[in-house]
Symmetry: C2
Subunit: 415 residues, 2 copies
C-alpha cells in the first residue's frame, strides 16, 4: 500500500464516524480550526516564506507568487470565512422525500455526506483551508493534494487543522494531506476508486483536462468559462455598453468574465464603432471578424482559435452576426456551458436565447459576472460546475452531499 492508498483507507474509516457527528460538534470543530489558525499564524507565515523563496529561485512569475503569498490579512480572512461557514445551515440529515406505502413500509430519502472527497489543486494555499472546512461542515472526509509550489504552506495549515481537531469530536484522519506532490501521487489519486467518492480538480485548463481524461473516480468539473454576451438588434445602447464593459473588465481573470461579444449587424451599424472605441479606451485588446477589422483599425484578426479562447485577461473576441440563431449556434459550438447573456428589448428573442443556449446560467439584460455562489446567496462556494450531472452552476454545500433511502418495515416481503 502506498502513501495515497493508506491515506485513502484512513479517510474512508474516518468518514464513517464523521457521518454520524452532530451539526453542533462539527461547528465546534470549525471554530477550533479558526482559532488555531490565528494562533499558528507566525508559524504558517514562516513556512509560507519558504515556499516564496523557493518560488523566486525557480523563477516563478510574480502573479503566481502573489497567489501563494500569505500575510496576516489573508489568514484573518480564512478565519473569517470559517466563521461564516459555521453560521450556514447544515444540509446533512435533511429529509428530501418521504413515501408511505400501502403495505406499511415507510421510505424516507435523506441528505448524507458523499464520504471521502479528493481535492487536487494548484498554487493558492487558501484552497487547503477552504476545501477542508467545507468538507467537514458537510460531514465529509477530505484528501488534499496541493501543488509543490505551496507545499510548506499547505503542510503548516494542515498541521494547524490537526491540532484543532485533536480537541474536537472529529477524527484527525478526516483531513489528509498528500505531502508528496510528485506526478505519481496525482496518478494514484485519479484511480483511488476504492476509497474516494469524488475528485474535484481546481486549477487551470491543463489540470482539469488531465483529470477528466485519466481519472476513473467520478469527478466534479469546475472552472472553464468561455462566456459570451450577445447584443441583439433592439438592445439599448447604454445598457449594452455598461454590461459588456462590466463583464469584460471588472475582473478579467475569473471564469464568469466574458471572452466573446456577438453583435447583431443592425446594432453594429448604429453603435458598433462607439462600443469598440470604449473597449479600446479601457485597455481591451480586440480580436474581430472581417466586419470588425474593417471598421476598427486597432482590431486584430480573430481565427478559429480565438473563438475557443478563454483569455482570462483584457482581450476579447468580437463577431458580427446576421440574426439571433447565428448567435445561439456560435455559443453552443464554441462556449463552455458556463454563463451566457443576451441584451435585448425583445422578450421573444430573450426567451428563445435563454432556452436554446446550453449553459449553466443564462442571462437576460444582466452581466455574466453574477454567476457565483455568494452572489446567489449560498454563503459558500465549492466551485462553479460546468457539467450537467449532480450539480450545475455555482455549487453550495448541497453539492457536497449525496442521498440515502431509509426504509422502515415490520416484516414486509415482496410478493
Amino acid at each position: 500500500m502506498n502513501e495515497v492508498q493508506k491515506k485513502g483507507q484512513a479517510a474512508k474509516l474516518a468518514s464513517y464516524s464523521l457521518a454520524g457527528i452532530s451539526t453542533m460538534a462539527k461547528n465546534e470543530a470549525l471554530e477550533m480550526i479558526a482559532g488555531q489558525l490565528l494562533k499558528d499564524q507566525a508559524e504558517i507565515l514562516a513556512e509560507n516564506q519558504k515556499d516564496l523563496q523557493e518560488g523566486k529561485q525557480k523563477g516563478i512569475s510574480e502573479a503566481i507568487l502573489d497567489r501563494i503569498m500569505l500575510n496576516e490579512k489573508r489568514i484573518d480572512d480564512m478565519a473569517h470565512a470559517i466563521r461564516q461557514l459555521i453560521s450556514l445551515h447544515d444540509p446533512i440529515g435533511e429529509t428530501i422525500e418521504t413515501i408511505q406505502k400501502e403495505n406499511g413500509l415507510f421510505i424516507k430519502k435523506n441528505r448524507v455526506p458523499l464520504g471521502v472527497i479528493g481535492m487536487i489543486y494548484e498554487a493558492r494555499p487558501n484552497v487547503t483551508i477552504d476545501a477542508a472546512t467545507l468538507c467537514l461542515k458537510t460531514g465529509n472526509a477530505v484528501i488534499l493534494r496541493g501543488s509543490s509550489s505551496a507545499k510548506f504552506s499547505n503542510m503548516a495549515i494542515v498541521q494547524s487543522i490537526h491540532r484543532a481537531l485533536e480537541k474536537s469530536a472529529i477524527p484527525l484522519d478526516a483531513v489528509q494531506l498528500i505531502e508528496d506532490t510528485s506526478r505519481e501521487t496525482a496518478q494514484a489519486l485519479f484511480h483511488l476508486d476504492q476509497y474516494l467518492d469524488v475528485l474535484i480538480p481546481r486549477g487551470g485548463k491543463h489540470l482539469i483536462e488531465t483529470v477528466k481524461r485519466e481519472a476513473t473516480v467520478p469527478i466534479l468539473e469546475t472552472g472553464a468559462g468561455n462566456c459570451h454576451v450577445f447584443i441583439d438588434d433592439s438592445a439599448e445602447e447604454d445598457m449594452a455598453v455598461r454590461i459588456v464593459l462590466n463583464a469584460k473588465t471588472q475582473r478579467p481573470s475569473v471564469c464568469n468574465a466574458i471572452e466573446t461579444i456577438l453583435i447583431h449587424e443592425q446594432w453594429f451599424d448604429r453603435y458598433g464603432v462607439k462600443l469598440l472605441e470604449v473597449l479600446h479606451e479601457n485597455g481591451v485588446e480586440i480580436y474581430g471578424d472581417e466586419t470588425i477589422c474593417r471598421a476598427f483599425k486597432a482590431a486584430n484578426t480573430a481565427t478559429e482559435e480565438e473563438w475557443y479562447t478563454e483569455y482570462l485577461a483584457l482581450s476579447v473576441s468580437i463577431k458580427v452576426v446576421k440574426h439571433l440563431d447565428e448567435a445561439i449556434e456560435h455559443i453552443n459550438k464554441y462556449g463552455s456551458q458556463h454563463s451566457e447573456a443576451i441584451i435585448t428589448d425583445n422578450e421573444l428573442n430573450a426567451s428563445i436565447f435563454l432556452n436554446k443556449v446550453d449553459a449553466a446560467a443564462v442571462y437576460h439584460n444582466a452581466s455574466t459576472r453574477f454567476t457565483d455562489g455568494f452572489e446567489f446567496g449560498y454563503g459558500a462556494e465549492i466551485g462553479i460546475s460546468t457539467q450537467k450531472l449532480h450539480a450545475r452552476g455555482p455549487m453550495g454545500l448541497n453539492a457536497l452531499t449525496s442521498s440515502k433511502f431509509f426504509i422502515y418495515g415490520s416484516g414486509q416481503i415482496r410478493e
Copy 2:
C-alpha cells in the same frame, strides 16, 4: 468523422430543438411510437427470429436466448409501458428554486434535459424501446448501442420508432442506433465527450467495469448488487426467516436480491440450523464460514472470494458475527452500496446500522427486494444507481434531467 461521431453530432443538434418541445407534443409522439410498434409487430418478430437463429448457431445459452426472444405478449408489454410513461408527470420546465436579489435580479433554477444520453447495453431488445422512450419523455436525444446478439431486433425497433417520429414534432435524429456493434464503436462512444452528456451502461459486471475504466464521458453507474441481510440477536425468528427467504429466493437473478446473510452468534445458537435447513430445502446452495460448516454438513466453505460474489442465483454466503459492528464492517468492506437490511427488535441497533452502513437503500425489518423505481412509486426506472453523485438508488425520470439558472435583469452589473 466516423459513424459514431456523425450520429453524435446529429443527436446533439436534435437535442437543442427537443429541449423546447411541449409535454403534449412529447406525449403525442410517445403514443405514436406505441401504436407503430403494434403495427410493426410482424416485422419486428421476423427480425427477432434472425437474432435467435444466429444465436442458436453460435451456441448462445438458453437463458440469454430467452432474454433476446420477443413475442406478441412482450411487444404488447412494451406498448403498455409506453402508455404508462405518457401518464407520468413531465419534470422538464419545473422550477426548483427561485432567488429574488435586492438589486432587482430574479434568478430561477429550472429542470432541463441532460441533452444527449448514450446507452450501451446487452442482449434484451426491450431496453431499446425503454431507453428511447424514457429519454424522449424527458426531452433528451439518445444514442443506442446494443449488443450484436440482438442487432436485427434493435434495428427493427428503431425503424419502427423512426416511422412514428416522422409524423411527430420530434426530429428523427433524436433517436440514433449504432448498427455496427464492433468494439470500435463502443470505444468511440466512451470518448464522445463533444456530443454526449452522459453514458449509461446496462448489463453485466464486465461491461460496467469496462465503461468505468475507459469512458471519459460522465457515466451513471447502475446495477451491481452485493446485498446483505444482518440478523441481529433480537430478531424475531419468523420475520428473519421470511425476509431472508424472500430476499434470496423470490427472484435471485436481480440486483436487489441478497447474496450474503450475516447472523449474530446468539441468534445463530438458537435458530441458525433451522434457517440453514429452510434455505437448503428451498434449493439454496450455502457457502459458509467455519461455524456454519461445522453446524451444517451440506454447506461449502466460503473463501474471501465468496464474500465479494454477486451470485444472481440460488446460492448464498453466510457468516456468523460477534456483534453489530462486525456486521457493519463486513458490509462496508464487501458490499456494493446497493441495498442492505437489518432484522432486529432493538431500535438503537437499527438506527446505528442504518446510519453507518454506506448504501443507496438501508432497511429495518423488510426485504431488500423493494429497492425498485416502481415499488418506490416513480412509475418508471432507468436503473438503480450505486454511485453517490447525481442520483443514488432507484432512478426515475428526474435522474435524466439537469438544471439551468435563468437570470432576469434590467441592466444590472457587478460592483
